[in-house]
């Protein structure tokens, strides 16, 4: 060292050790595979979810919703979804269902005996029945979408959308590439939250802080997106050449079976309601 002979050269102190119980690069917990569905194309699951739930949107009665919900629960249990998984994945639906019911209870079209009223809110026989129906309906509509997609791989879904449903490949793959950035966005979000604390504005003003972070996230997202677009284009994405597919996406008998099951559930639900005389089109 020049000039500072009286001092020794700095030495490096090695600190810390790898924890003995540390797992090597913890793998993401794989989602539970649905037992009866492994060979079903993800787009078929999407179709099934649409087929099961869409008919329910046209009626508002407790029988159709209850029948659909019961059958769905039985089928998912048979497919190997554990009740604990259901609760964990579906809790937002469990919260939302009674809230939707409450709104209907207060503002549903009044009929029959009135039990309570305040300004526009009126609880009547009719609104009680509607409230029960709506609560069950939210569950019956929400459940299949969440559970059918438990173990769907986004890449396989995109392959199916582009190859089986023939949606425009550029848009499907663009969306897929964008979706892959979610993990990075969440890392960005955490880093931004810490930086707000470091900068002295982490104590209060949650809404304002959210706004600055949301805006910064959009800036980062667009920057990343622009760079990603360049990288994709450099690899020939969007060229006029006909695209080939490294991973074939096909459909077969299991797909047909799932669609039949989905139609049957919807059929039982609507048929049950008609038989029970509770079928009630939303527009009547």
């Amino acid at each position: 060292m020049t000039g500072r002979v009286e001092r020794a050269a700095p030495t490096t102190t090695v600190i810390g050790r790898r924890p003995s119980d540390a797992t090597e690069a913890p793998a993401a917990v794989p989602p539970p595979r649905l037992r009866l569905l492994p060979r079903v194309n993800p787009v078929t699951r999407l179709a099934a979810a649409i087929l099961v739930t869409t008919p329910l949107l046209f009626t508002i009665d407790w029988v159709s919703a209850a029948v659909a919900l019961t059958l769905q629960l039985a089928l998912f249990l048979a497919a190997g979804v554990r009740p604990s998984t259901m609760l964990r994945r579906c809790w937002p639906i469990l919260v939302a269902a009674p809230l939707a019911g409450l709104s209907m209870l207060l503002y549903g079209r009044p009929a029959g005996t009135e039990y309570w009223s305040f300004w526009l809110a009126r609880i009547t026989d009719g609104s009680i029945e509607l409230a029960v129906a709506v609560t069950l309906r939210v569950l019956a509509i929400g459940l299949p979408a969440v559970l059918l997609f438990l173990d769907v791989d986004p890449t396989e879904l995109a392959d199916g959308l582009a190859q089986v449903w023939r949606l425009p490949a550029r848009f499907v793959l663009g969306a897929l590439a964008g979706a892959r950035l979610i993990g990075l966005f969440l890392d960005d979000w955490r880093a931004m939250a810490m930086s707000r604390r470091a900068r002295g504005i982490g104590d209060h003003g949650a809404v304002r802080r959210f706004a600055t972070m949301a805006f910064a996230l959009l800036v980062l997202a667009i920057r990343r997106g622009s760079k990603l677009a360049t990288a994709m284009e450099a690899r020939g994405f969007g060229a006029r050449t006909a695209r080939s597919w490294a991973r074939p996406s096909t459909i077969g008998a299991p797909d047909a079976a799932l669609l039949v099951i989905a139609l049957s559930v919807a059929g039982c639900a609507i048929g049950g309601a008609i038989l029970a005389g509770t079928f009630h089109p939303v527009w009547v």
Partner: protein
């Protein structure tokens, strides 16, 4: 091992004649009047100051400059005698940022992406994918999740994706700027192997000349607006264009850095911040390192190094009071705590400001205001100070940001953003300053500036702790040096 003949490609030629490009909405041409001719199989290193349009050339050669909506061109730029946009797949491009080049979530799928776009047969795709993954030395299964690759691995993945298209021209746009030394070495080795196997033409843009000058056989120096100011063998150009290169912030190999050397300090005197028996990690149950003991003394610069994934940044955040340790204690000395508790993670956000300032690795994570001046006012307003201008202006001046005072922080260049984040922390005059990879990807001029700034801070009595894997930074500023252990060595002294 003999390689299949199929991996050889016909190397591409490049010809620019009076070529220029102007981005839409800009008055100034990004590059103008470029004349350059590259023969098939040549390996060219392209350097120049920021604003010389070198990336623009590279993007144009890759055919990704965008059409009429994004700008206009003059003159001719030809790849094998035709416009690059008509020759998709003839060139392969690797960009700077590892994270924004990964397209798909599985390694093999990502490499296959380019081949799919070119309409290559399925069976052919997978054999090309295996060849490419092998060529870049990624010894991982094809279904390995791309999200779990390191920066160096991601860059090699991007390289594999490019060469799977069998391009005759390989274009690299600062491919190692965001990598640690280990990643840099990995990528350079992979590029070298790929070129030997394929024989493709190479054009690489990079301000770290030392990484590439032995691998290329020609070096082209661009001046402002794309004028070629030197062109020839790297050894000769490094001598003939030395002044211009240094002025452009290029890392000229062997050129001494005029910043002085670190001076050994006693880590146990005037300790302001220390960690005792720390177990660090971002999530409970996922400890990265345990038994961490360190002390950060006032009036000296402490540098923390360690291998990838050892938790250097996590330790910095923990010491900075931004993450709670999973076990053990972070202790602020009474001189630092100044009347509040000794545990920084328990302090309020405002209380951190003039005690511990943390500068994060990614500047854009930290911006909260619309102007540079506004960024500097944030801390002062949080501290309830009335007269912000008298505090802000000297800091702006010190970090050469006055002319940008009203600019939007996001529009600044990388080096300017780095200086701004430092400024926005320093304005609150914290007793401890923590910097995470402050010189990451910076050019030589910014590097020197940052190193001098840290030295000044330490001389002023501040306790500075930097996380860095930059060896030159450690030489200049490692008064006290810590290394997070690579394995289960435990605590101990090493040279």
């Amino acid at each position: 091992m003999s390689r299949p003949v199929s991996e050889r490609v016909a190397p591409a030629s490049v010809e620019a004649r009076g070529w220029g490009w102007r981005h839409a909405g800009r008055r100034r041409w990004a590059i103008e009047g470029l004349d350059l001719s590259i023969a098939p199989g040549e390996r060219v290193l392209l350097v120049g100051p920021s604003g010389s349009g070198k990336s623009t050339v590279l993007h144009a050669l890759a055919g990704v400059n965008g059409g009429a909506e994004e700008g206009e061109s003059v003159g001719e730029l030809l790849l094998d005698g035709v416009g690059p946009a008509d020759r998709r797949g003839r060139s392969g491009l690797v960009l700077q940022d590892p994270d924004s080049q990964v397209v798909l979530s599985r390694l093999g799928d990502d490499v296959a992406f380019g081949c799919e776009n070119l309409g290559v047969e399925r069976s052919e795709i997978w054999s090309r994918v295996r060849d490419a993954v092998d060529a870049v030395g990624l010894e991982l299964p094809l279904d390995h999740p791309t999200s779990r690759l390191s920066g160096g691995q991601k860059q090699r993945l991007a390289l594999a994706g490019a060469i799977a298209m069998r391009p005759g021209l390989l274009l690299l746009d600062e491919p190692t700027a965001n990598l640690d030394p280990e990643g840099v070495a990995e990528v350079r080795a992979a590029v070298s192997r790929v070129l030997d196997r394929t024989g493709a033409t190479l054009v690489v843009v990079e301000h770290r000349v030392d990484v590439w000058h032995e691998l290329v056989d020609r070096m082209v120096v661009l001046g402002r607006e794309g004028r070629v100011i030197a062109d020839g063998r790297p050894k000769e150009v490094l001598v003939s264009a030395r002044v211009e290169l240094l002025a452009a912030g290029v890392w000229v190999p062997g050129e001494p850095l005029d910043v002085g050397a670190a001076r050994a300090a006693d880590p146990d005197t005037d300790v302001l911040l220390s960690g005792h028996g720390l177990t660090i990690g971002r999530q409970a149950g996922r400890p990265l390192r345990t038994g961490v003991e360190l002390a950060v003394p006032a009036g000296a610069s402490t540098v923390l190094t360690g291998p990838n994934g050892a938790g250097k940044s996590t330790l910095a955040l923990t010491l900075g009071g931004l993450l709670r340790p999973l076990a053990g204690r972070v202790v602020a000395a009474p001189a630092l705590a100044a009347g509040i508790g000794p545990d920084p993670s328990g302090w309020r956000s405002r209380e951190l400001l003039h005690r511990i300032g943390t500068v994060f690795q990614e500047p854009e994570h930290q911006f909260v205001a619309r102007t540079v001046r506004g960024e500097l006012g944030v801390a002062l307003r949080a501290l309830g100070e009335q007269d912000t201008a008298s505090r802000v202006d000297p800091v702006l001046e010190r970090l050469r940001l006055e002319h940008l005072a009203e600019a939007n922080p996001f529009t600044l260049s990388g080096g300017e953003q780095r200086r701004l984040t430092a400024a926005s922390v320093l304005v609150a005059r914290p007793r401890v300053v923590i910097l995470d990879e402050p010189t990451f990807g910076q050019d030589r001029l910014t590097w020197i500036e940052l190193v001098r700034l840290v030295r000044e801070l330490a001389d002023d009595g501040v306790a500075v702790l930097s996380v860095s894997h930059d060896a030159a930074y450690r030489e200049a500023l490692g008064d006290v040096r810590y290394a997070l252990g690579a394995d289960s060595l435990g605590t101990g002294k090493a040279a």
